[in-house]
Amino acid sequence: MKKLPKTDVVVIGLGWAGSIIANELADEGLDVIGIERGPWRDTARDFNIGTVTDELRYVMREELMLRTRQNTCTMRNNPSQTALPMRTWGSFHPGNGTGGAGNHWAGITFRFQPHEFQLKSHLTERYGADAMPAELTLQDWGTTWEEMEPHYMQFERVAGTSGYAGNLNGEKRAGGNPFEGPRSGDYPTPPLRQPYGPTLFAQAAKEMGYQPFPVPSSLVSEAYTNPYGVTMGPCTFCGFCTNYGCANYSKASAITTVLPALMRKENFTAYTNCEVLEVLTDSSGKKATGVTYVDSSGDTWEQPADLVIVAAFTFENVRLMLLSHIGEAYDPVTNKGTTGRNYAYQTANNVTLFFDDKNFNPFIGAGAVGMGIDEFNNDNFDHSGLGFFGGGSIRVTPIGSAPIGYRPLPPGTPKWGSKWKRALKDNYLSTMSIGCEASSYTTRTNYLSLDPNYKDPHGRPLLRITFDFAQNDLKMAQYCTGKVAEIAKSINPREMIVKPMTGHWSSVPYQSSHVVGGFVMGADPSTSSVNKHLQVWDVPNLFVVGASAFPQNPGYNPTGTVGALAFKAAHAIRTWYLKRPGEMITA
């Protein structure tokens, strides 16, 4: 192993979080090296309009995703089982390459609500300690809405997020989301124009007394130049969005908003196709000294650094900490240890509506265009006596009916033959669906650990996921999907399929890439891994940033909060850490 010259900062992962922090710290004048396990990607070269609309390549063959041959996970539903490796991605899609999962995301950019950051305290105060289901291990984040808000704003301004504020500096505005926390500024770009499906849903929801709003979206609605001088073009609703890179410079990702500015800085260097093996610490274990990584030729290098930022995907953040023996590995039997603790997911529910007399032109779509309601999300409704906590974001977001995958078939359709063809033809244009992206609350036996049996090509254990849906979440799914069905029914479809999440978690059908937790933030080192600045307890020069820090998952998409946490960590480093390097921030 060869040792490279020391640098000020090494950042692991050049997706959203890593690119944002690398850029902020480069602006601080530090020498920053970013290490990315996947290839270099940029819009001009990789997401050409002539080649990007290729469903076989990007959806079926998962071009933008991590190769499972390079690294994968094992999965089981509970600690009594032996986990098996995922050899193709199913349930979720870890990204790869510069931009990371931010290239293939949908673009939905919610902020979490103020009460989420003190969820346990809030629910205890509102419903009493006895109301908390025994299986749940909910936690406060150790931070507040007031501390988060400026960083949400920073992220939205970089991403050009489109939407309509429902709460501007405490003033409620009709047409926006009445449940959002007070915003210090409006969305940088106005809401996208809405296709027919979302319009129909919003009308029905309104008639039932709900308050629909345009889903906040980091697909810009008009040409937008962000604070770094990087310009995005308006979304054209091409329908090749989720799972694809954007050819129109419309979908915000690190490659369309941050890296063009970052790559110009002479004190920043990116190493691509380089996989970090370990975060190194000194003999005390209290100081990170750098990382080791293996390059595309198979050579291993040591990159020493004064400050180490781990900003890979949730799974790899946690796995690297376990492999590097940072923090104590969580043990569900003793309930001790924090690394791997409080892993959560997202509870995906859905209602499909079949009509005879409507044309939704479903090929018009975008990952994040749509209308939603939040009356049944999180703690926006009274949970007294319901026997569960949490809820979901109910919305219609037509992502585009891709030619291979989109098969809207009513119940009872044969699996093949002329009747199958007839049903597909009859329903292709006239089907819509209402989704409910719901919360996932943590339990003692849902956690991440190193697999004892399966290893990656470098001989390191794979990450093992132990997860099943909490009973709390399955009850919530029934309740919220029932509410969705009421709205659906009011639109008078010919027939509908009501599909709340039921049974055990399966790793096979795609549900959501919103995997969170495992290295969570908080105020108490016995139940959290990082403080509110994303600084690792007892290793002050190590910051671990990403959705791995979420103590549980609300009924929202995570990326807006991942971006805000990245800015929050960078702010803490610039404001406090660099004044007293090597010490825990006390601010």
Partner: protein, 404 residues
């Protein structure tokens, strides 16, 4: 260039900390800026790690020339030159030991430089790191490789003489004229050439084909020149590489990247003032083709399917990222070389400190044949306020053949 700017900034800091004036540093800083104005790096730097060591190949209609090593290396650079040698090279095209320089070295423009600017630039050159790098500058075939032929060439094509200000014009205009005609050497690309490769003086900045691109008309013509560009459009283009009509591409992308983005605001404004008062080249504005023309009908279909997602229906474009095509003088150039090139081979716009996006136009030669490319360009050149000669499939083929 960035390294140099960082160095300048560091030295400026030193200069401002010191209590006394630093005439030597001031002269170095002026010279460094003059090198930026002249974009010396364009022809004299091949490898950023070896600045000004020469070797950039310049394709002329007569053959290949290469930029010389202008570092003070005694054997391969200009280390044994005197100031007078330098001055003569810059203003007369005659180098050390009487060796004549080809017009690709734009001494026909640099002859306008003031004595003080020449001294400052020379002082800066003395500070460069000497780099041993042999460059064969003259790679022309016979008979063009005979340098004595340049005596006759100069007699026909070269007017020696320092810039003489026009007392009737403002100081700003005169500064702009000095920059455009002198160090900026805009005419090297934008002035059409006679059969000897010399500038047609009466066609100054009227547009010309250079290295497979059409350097457009910079005259005051509304239809094909800068008549409709505001002063701000010109400044924005040179400062950021982007304005409502264009994102700098091809050779101009290099000029913006290495040179004009670093020009001082007052110099960019002076250039804009001078260009806005430039002469017209009496372009006759043609009538646009009728929408019923078969080429127009085919072109409209292709435009809607392949182009309108970015450039918008109606060619209105998107600010700072997808250039407006409607009523755009660049679309109306008499020669469609650049347009054919950009559509068939694609192009990546310039990245600048102010506008780092560098959006790309994809290549369409894989999905459109020559006739289709000709049709869509004919359509764009004759729609939404544009009017220009139709493009034929053979025009497309010629440009594509040249690129091979």
């Amino acid at each position: 260039m960035k390294t140099l700017n960082a160095l300048s900034a560091a030295l400026l800091l030193v200069a401002s900390v010191g209590s006394q004036a630093q005439p030597e540093y001031d002269q170095y800083a002026r010279g460094s800026y003059l090198a930026t104005l002249g974009d010396c790096t364009a022809c004299h730097t091949t490898d950023a790690k070896q600045p000004y060591a020469g070797g950039v190949k310049i394709n002329t209609p007569f053959g290949v020339l290469a930029g010389a090593n202008i570092t003070p290396d005694r054997e391969t650079g200009i280390g044994d030159w005197s100031y007078d040698d330098f001055r003569r090279a810059m203003t007369e095209g005659i180098g050390h030991n009487g060796k004549r320089l080809y017009g690709a070295m734009p001494f026909t423009a640099y002859t306008k430089m003031s004595e003080r600017d020449l001294q400052d630039l020379w002082a800066w050159i003395q500070t460069l790191q000497p780099i041993h790098h042999e460059v064969e500058t003259n790679q022309l075939p016979f008979p063009f490789n005979i340098r004595t032929s340049l005596i006759a060439w100069n007699w026909l094509n070269f007017d020696k003489g320092t810039f003489v200000p026009d007392a009737k014009k403002s100081a700003e205009w005169n500064r702009g004229a000095y920059l455009v005609q002198g160090l900026g050497h805009c005419g090297t690309c934008h002035t059409s050439k006679n059969f000897l490769g010399g500038d047609k003086d009466d066609r100054f900045l009227s547009g010309s084909v250079v290295e497979g691109w059409y350097a457009p008309n910079l005259g005051a013509d509304a239809h094909t020149g800068l008549g409709k560009w505001t002063q701000e459009d010109i400044v924005s283009y040179l400062r950021t590489g982007v304005n409502r009509y264009a994102i700098a591409s091809g050779p101009m992308a290099d000029a913006v990247r290495h040179s004009t983005q670093y020009w001082r605001d007052e110099d960019l404004r002076a250039v804009a003032t001078f260009l806005k008062e430039g002469k017209t080249h009496d372009e006759e504005v043609p009538q646009p083709l009728a929408a019923s023309d078969d080429r127009m009908k085919l072109g409209a279909q292709i435009y809607e399917a392949k182009c309108s997602a970015c450039h918008s229906p109606g060619g209105r474009g998107e600010r700072n990222i997808f250039p407006q095509l409607a009523a755009n003088p660049l679309i109306n150039q008499p020669d469609a070389t650049s347009l054919i090139r950009v559509v068939s081979a694609g192009s990546r716009g310039v990245d600048t400190d102010a506008r780092p996006t560098a959006p790309a136009m994809p290549a369409f030669s894989g999905v459109l044949d020559d006739e289709q490319i000709a049709a869509v360009l004919t359509y764009v050149r004759n729609s939404w306020g544009n009017a220009a000669a139709p493009v034929s499939a053979s025009d497309v083929k010629d440009v594509k053949d040249d690129m091979k």
